[in-house]
């Protein structure tokens, strides 16, 4: 058996995983935290994306918006990952074979890469374009990709229950 699958089965059958899965309230509460955390994680980054697309907050420099948004997004990411990991732990064996869960992780990784590339390249020279109402095409492409990828994460996440 592949080592990853073995790991998932170990988590699933563990005492903690079983307790979470069979709990009356714990799983539901963690799941609710996970779902509501999309506002903090994705909703805030969407505001930055819409700014770069020139749709909102045009009078405010992109880096000002980013400086305010990024800590919120990272907080949301922390909450999402922690709650998500617990949800995964409870259902690990099933998640291993769930195509929607796999798709969600891939989209999540792509969203991260998109952000990383942006911060290492075009955002380095932000002072040149941050005051423009509409950002340069590379920033807009990043913003559009970000919106698409994070929407995909939400959609794939919801679809997990249907597989």
């Amino acid at each position: 058996m592949p080592i990853l699958q073995h790991f998932c089965e170990t988590l699933y059958h563990s005492g903690f995983g079983t307790m979470l899965r069979e709990s009356n309230n714990a799983f539901s509460v963690i799941e609710s935290v996970h779902v509501l955390s999309i506002t903090l994680l994705i909703g805030t980054i969407a505001v930055l994306d819409f700014r770069m697309l020139g749709l909102i907050l045009r009078s405010i420099a992109v880096s000002s918006v980013a400086r305010s948004v990024m800590p919120l997004t990272w907080s949301g990411f922390a909450v999402s990952v922690m709650s998500g990991f617990l949800l995964f732990w409870a259902e690990a064996e099933k998640m291993y074979v769930n195509p929607s869960f796999r798709a969600k992780l891939v989209l999540l990784a792509l969203a991260g890469i998109n952000a990383l590339v942006f911060h290492r390249t075009i955002y380095r020279r932000a002072q040149e374009w941050e005051r423009q109402h509409v950002s340069p095409w590379r920033a807009r492409a990043t913003a559009f990709a970000s919106l698409m990828l994070w929407s995909g994460v939400i959609i794939a996440g919801r679809a997990i229950a249907y597989f």
């Binding site: 509501l36 506002t39 909703g43 805030t44 969407a46 909102i56 907050l57 405010i60 000002s64 919120l72």
Partner: protein, 158 residues
């Protein structure tokens, strides 16, 4: 037609039938509802955190609120429309669900608050000195919207 009658009318409407018979309609509409939630939540967070003086302190709260109002109202509209579609699929269950009734009450409160006292509080910031009322309004707003979200989750769980 009473309230229960209205719920039943929605369930028996073409929308209701479409939602109840289709295998994927509910899932898709629910996804749209979640996408709306993300954007609505993000807008509310940015506006209210500014009112609390946590972010974008150098920028006008009035400007930020105005600039995000279209996004906020637009995403709210998406949530209401998708919400009606979701309701049409399980109108009976929702009618008798305490969580659903709480959600609708909190939603009404949040929306009314947004267009009245919250708006007043934002305009207060123009004078720059009185910081307490905008902060209280921001906290009330955040709590109301959080309540809507939690109650919404409770519909499916209770």
């Amino acid at each position: 037609m009473g309230l229960h009658g209205s719920f039943m009318a929605l369930a028996h409407s073409p929308l209701g039938h479409a939602m109840q018979t289709s295998r994927w309609a509910f899932a898709v509409v629910e996804m749209v509802h979640l996408l709306g939630l993300a954007v609505l939540g993000g807008s509310v967070l940015i506006v209210d955190l500014r009112l609390l003086g946590v972010i974008l302190k150098g920028e006008s709260a009035i400007t930020i609120s105005r600039e995000l109002s279209r996004l906020l109202i637009g995403s709210l509209l998406v949530m209401v429309l998708s919400g009606i579609a979701l309701l049409s699929e399980e109108a009976g269950k929702c009618y008798y669900s305490p969580a659903f009734r709480w959600k609708m009450a909190l939603l009404a409160a949040a929306v009314i608050f947004y267009f009245t006292l919250h708006r007043q509080a934002i305009l207060c910031t123009r004078r720059g000195t009185l910081k307490l009322w905008p902060r209280i309004a921001a906290l009330v707003s955040l709590l109301l919207w959080l309540g809507v979200g939690v109650a919404g989750r409770a519909i499916g769980l209770l």
